[in-house]
Chain length 210, copies 2
């Protein structure tokens, strides 16, 4: 009975192994899909025997569930929140910057999330229905307030959020395509800054904020 708040040596080895497995599993799930990622392939990538994987997670579905949760936690932490007092320009800039940095730093997190949604979001219907819908409503309300105050152009706030999400996540999810088209092997730090500048520029101007 290793409860969550007990921190013992045994707890550490458990947590460490689980994290190692989660990271290996995430990569496998992204590369091969849920069914294509076998427990054996996850084990190989984590450099552990297969039976060990199933000692820490009772089955494959459990691993996937844990990977998803781990991804969502990371996501929420990375985005932070908006200060209503800072006005629309800074708010949009901050969201764009945070999301672009996340996309370039953790493309796999974005990818596994994207695949889950594309396939119908069977494992996180609740997440979208409760937490995410709430988040969008709050932010949309804020934008609407700024619009009513004449602080930005009259654009649909919900679709504006979709636009920011799609444009920023694109660099993670479609990195293969983007790199190929740009004839590059990898992204560099200056690409990140360029994308932030580009998207901020065009979206802010699109919202009448420049």
């Amino acid at each position: 009975m290793t409860s969550a708040n007990q921190v013992k040596k045994t707890g550490n080895i458990r947590a460490k192994s689980q994290m190692k497995i989660l990271i290996a599993a995430r990569t496998e799930f992204v590369l091969q899909g849920y069914r294509g990622a076998t427990v054996q392939s996850i084990a190989d990538r984590a450099e552990l025997p297969k039976a060990n994987i199933l000692y820490y997670f009772k089955n494959k579905d459990n691993i996937y569930q844990a990977v998803l949760e781990h991804t969502l936690e990371m996501w929420d932490e990375g985005i932070g929140d908006i200060d209503p007092n800072q006005g629309p320009k800074v708010a949009i800039e901050k969201i764009i910057e945070a999301k672009v940095r996340m996309s370039f730093r953790h493309p796999e997190a974005s990818k596994i999330y994207a695949m889950e949604i594309i396939q119908g979001a069977q494992h996180l219907k609740d997440y979208a229905r409760t937490y995410q819908r709430q988040w969008v409503r709050e932010k949309a309300k804020l934008f609407q307030h700024w619009i009513d105050n004449g602080e930005m152009a009259n654009v649909d706030p919900v679709h504006l959020i979709f636009l920011i999400w799609s444009a920023t996540q694109h660099y993670a999810d479609f990195e293969t395509q983007i790199l190929t088209i740009m004839n590059r092997a990898d992204f560099e730090e200056e690409d990140v800054e360029k994308v932030i500048a580009f998207l901020s520029d065009i979206i802010l101007r699109g919202c009448g904020l420049i």
Copy 2:
């Protein structure tokens, strides 16, 4: 020896069965992924015995390949081309409209394409490297020309194309999420028009064209 340009009754039954299989397969591949979609599940959806599926396509990989090709053909037809003489405003409007309509009409096509790219585009590396890179270069050149002529704001043309792609495809790939957030069961015709208007408006203004 049923050659492609021969149109016989036997050719018709073949083409009909193959199309039925392709449509069933596309849905299965989207819902379950490549590995998760079994030949049996495709057969069930197509309402044909499994052996019949493997009579028309010699193996599973072949089916997937055919689904991808069918998708890309549809895509290319749907986008059409830009007339360089029409100026940046009409050009961007037309691309946005075409892509948004495609996304709402054929979300599965967009989804299967997205999944393929996310997973590393193993089956269409060549497509991106040749055809798509060419397309982007051509269009980027056109935009750059308009920028140099002072006909639109100085935004990076390649990233502009990425922005348009991501923003429009988002409505197909993430339809589940979007519907949930908007608390809707399905999209309606007026949603399509609203998205076209929204994206045109914000992106055109972002490009200094309004």
